[in-house]
Amino acid sequence: MQSCEFVEPMLSDYLDGQLGTDDEARVEAHLAVCARCRNLADALRSDERALVSWARTLTAPADMPLRVLKALGLSRQEVQSRRLAYVYFASLALGVALVLAAVSLPVASAATILLHFALAVVRALFALPWAVHAEWLVVLGGFSLVMLVLSLTGLRRALRWTRRGVVWR
């Protein structure tokens, strides 16, 4: 027959099934005859149950994945915004190249443009001032400037709009 002082420090291990068979048998023999230690063991058991059921009521905020992605700079919105910017600048470069090609080859067919596209872009850079009359050059420049401002404003708005969205996926 073990004393309470001997058994009490073993209860925690006992409840976790951490005791060897001999010690476990000793604790069980004591619990069978000692109401005080039995009550303590029961109370410890119910504490554990209470902790488990309480823990289950604790839930992380549903937007935690989004928060983490945002903090890492990887949210879908940010990735989309970046992609939109790439597309915009690629289109801008293509547009500029096409305008230059058209200026250097005003009456060429589509096939010719395709064939001489790369060459034309380079040549256009030099040919531009002589290709058209100065007045038209000014009109073209002004028109391009207006289009550039308009598209930049549009891009800014589109970026702000995609960033404001909080729905991931």
């Binding site: 209860l11 099934g17 554990e48 488990v52 935690m64 994945p65 983490v68 890492l72």
Partner: protein, 204 residues
């Protein structure tokens, strides 16, 4: 996922038996390892899935240690950010759950210390919505009060063992302490919690 990811305690006490019914396998499956590999390359979808799988585990750990929802949310977010930023330094992918738990515990304990330096009474920090009926609510408040009186170290072992049902060797690994220390710390934490709870509820 392993026990940590599932965050569903397998505590044997729930079944009423004296021994832990250990059905869970702490090792990660191939799909989990693949997710970690993709997350390391910055794949947002993999990161999102990992956060979803582990957020309960991390949040409950943080809440148990910090005892308040706002701090627990901050600690959870911070733990994931730190984990993904330093994922390149994790050598063995299979240890991810233990490693993440270690980060979560460390951040939570640091926050507790920072708060203690600002000299706040932890018992005044108890708030948050209460789930369940009248009895469940009062039990929960008793539990929170009693837990708040424990030292952060004692709260931590209670959380890892009771909340998550981790084995002693797993707790030892997360906290980087000897298994004997886990054993004695858990014993003292439980006895103290019992003492405070019997004081709160007025039973023996």
């Amino acid at each position: 996922m392993g026990r940590i990811a599932a965050a569903e305690s397998t505590a044997r006490l729930e079944e009423g038996g004296p021994t832990l019914a250990d059905g869970g396998d702490a090792r990660l499956e191939q799909a989990d390892l693949e997710l970690i590999r993709r997350a390391r390359q910055g794949d947002p979808q993999a990161i999102e899935t990992i956060v979803r799988n582990y957020q309960s585990f991390v949040y409950r750990t943080a809440y148990g240690i910090l005892q308040n929802a706002a701090d627990a949310e901050d600690a959870t977010q911070e733990a994931f950010i730190r984990a993904f930023r330093s994922l390149g330094r994790l050598r063995e992918d299979r240890t991810f759950p233990t490693w993440l738990a270690r980060i979560a515990v460390r951040i939570s304990l640091d926050m507790v210390q920072a708060k203690a330096r600002r000299a706040q009474d932890p018992t005044e920090e108890i708030h948050g919505s209460v789930a369940g009926g009248e009895d469940a609510a009062s039990l929960r408040i008793d539990l929170e009060r009693a837990l708040a009186k424990l030292s952060p170290e004692h709260r931590t072992v209670i959380v890892l063992r009771a909340f998550h049902g981790l084995e002693y060797d797993e707790i030892a690994e997360v906290l980087e302490i000897p298994i004997g220390t886990v054993r004695s710390r858990l014993h003292h934490a439980r006895m103290q919690l019992r003492m405070y709870l019997s004081g709160e509820r007025g039973d023996s």
